[in-house]
């Protein structure tokens, strides 16, 4: 690809090889999430999957994109706010193993360690352990003014047919790029 913006064949081929059905890159707003969510659901309904599959994919999509959006809001007042808000990407695709939902965004360097810790803890759990973790978190008293419940990653792991996979790549000393893949 490169600087040739009037020719998107390269990008289109990459997406096709990847098995991408729907993708969005840029700033996530509630409106974008709702519209894409509808598109995902409509697509899956015509793709003759079960209603359960449709809602599993839809719900992983919602949790991933709302996580990115909530994180952007949290970082809004920091010097990295703009950069983080514009870094979101989500991909819904299909491979021979089924559907997958992947997302990526920039994460401030100091937030990387807690994120890895949380993901590793989740990855160690089987379905019973995840259920227990979910219930505990669900009943936990949240600090005053919370806007998130801390349940998103656990819920994605519960809906996934395989353990979550992720990668974290350092971009510079301030930010890392975080990618998360969930197979449904």
């Amino acid at each position: 690809m490169g600087d040739n913006f009037d020719n998107l064949i390269g990008l289109q081929k990459v997406l096709q090889n990847y098995g991408v059905l729907i993708t969005f890159s840029g700033r996530f707003t509630q409106e974008v999430i709702e519209e894409l969510g509808d598109a995902v659901k409509k697509y899956l309904e015509t793709d003759a999957t079960s209603l359960t599959d449709t809602y599993n994919v839809f719900s992983v999509f919602i949790e991933q994109t709302q996580n990115i959006k909530n994180y952007s809001v949290k970082k809004d007042s920091s010097s990295l706010g703009e950069q983080i808000a514009n870094s979101g990407v989500v991909v819904i695709g299909k491979s021979n193993m089924g559907y997958f939902v992947s997302s990526g965004n920039l994460v401030a360097t100091q937030d990387v360690k807690p994120l890895i810790d949380q993901l590793e803890e989740i990855k160690q759990q089987d379905k019973t352990g995840l259920r227990k973790m979910y219930k505990e978190q669900l009943k936990k008293e949240l600090p005053e003014g919370s806007t998130t419940a801390g349940l998103g990653l656990i819920d994605m792991a519960r809906k996934a047919c395989q353990p979550l996979t992720y990668s974290i790549v350092q971009v510079d000393e301030k930010v890392h790029f975080f990618s998360l893949q969930v197979r449904v």
Binding site: E34, G37, L51, S59, Q66, A149, D155
Partner: protein, 135 residues
């Protein structure tokens, strides 16, 4: 006491709180931008309502929510805690949770809420024609 009606949007359910009929219904998907902000007025209303609820009145609650995101689940949990507390104080509260019969996720979600609650909680499948929809 006044009722409260919140109209449905793409990401928020329709909510009807009717003090005259002693009914609360929540219908539709729930994945608002900020679930805590969305559910706040419902909590406030419910606190006040449950406080004055007479022992001989049954508060009937209907849910039909095909999809709930995690922060809305947290809010539902908070709502159930309020209802459970009222139930333990001897007030009469019944829950009916409707789900579309192919929607296993909505069923599982209801079952997980139900297992921790002592108040009457009925889970009712709906078929394509909405039969069983005894509202």
């Amino acid at each position: 006491m006044d009722g409260l009606i919140i109209e449905q949007t793409k990401s928020t359910p329709k909510v009807v709180l009717d003090p005259q009929k002693a009914k609360l219904s929540i219908e539709g998907q729930s994945y608002p931008e900020n679930a805590f902000k969305f559910y706040e007025p419902i909590f406030t209303w419910l606190d006040e309502y449950l406080d004055q609820l007479q022992q001989d009145v049954v508060l009937e609650i209907y849910f039909h929510m095909p999809y709930i995101n995690t922060s809305s689940s947290k809010c539902m949990m908070m709502l159930f805690e309020k209802l459970e507390e009222a139930h333990e104080a001897g007030k009469k509260v019944t829950i009916r949770w409707y789900y579309d019969q192919e929607n296993e996720i909505a069923l599982e979600c209801a079952e997980e809420f139900k297992e921790d609650l002592g108040l009457p909680f009925e889970i009712i499948p709906l078929n394509d024609e909405g039969i069983n929809n005894g509202k």
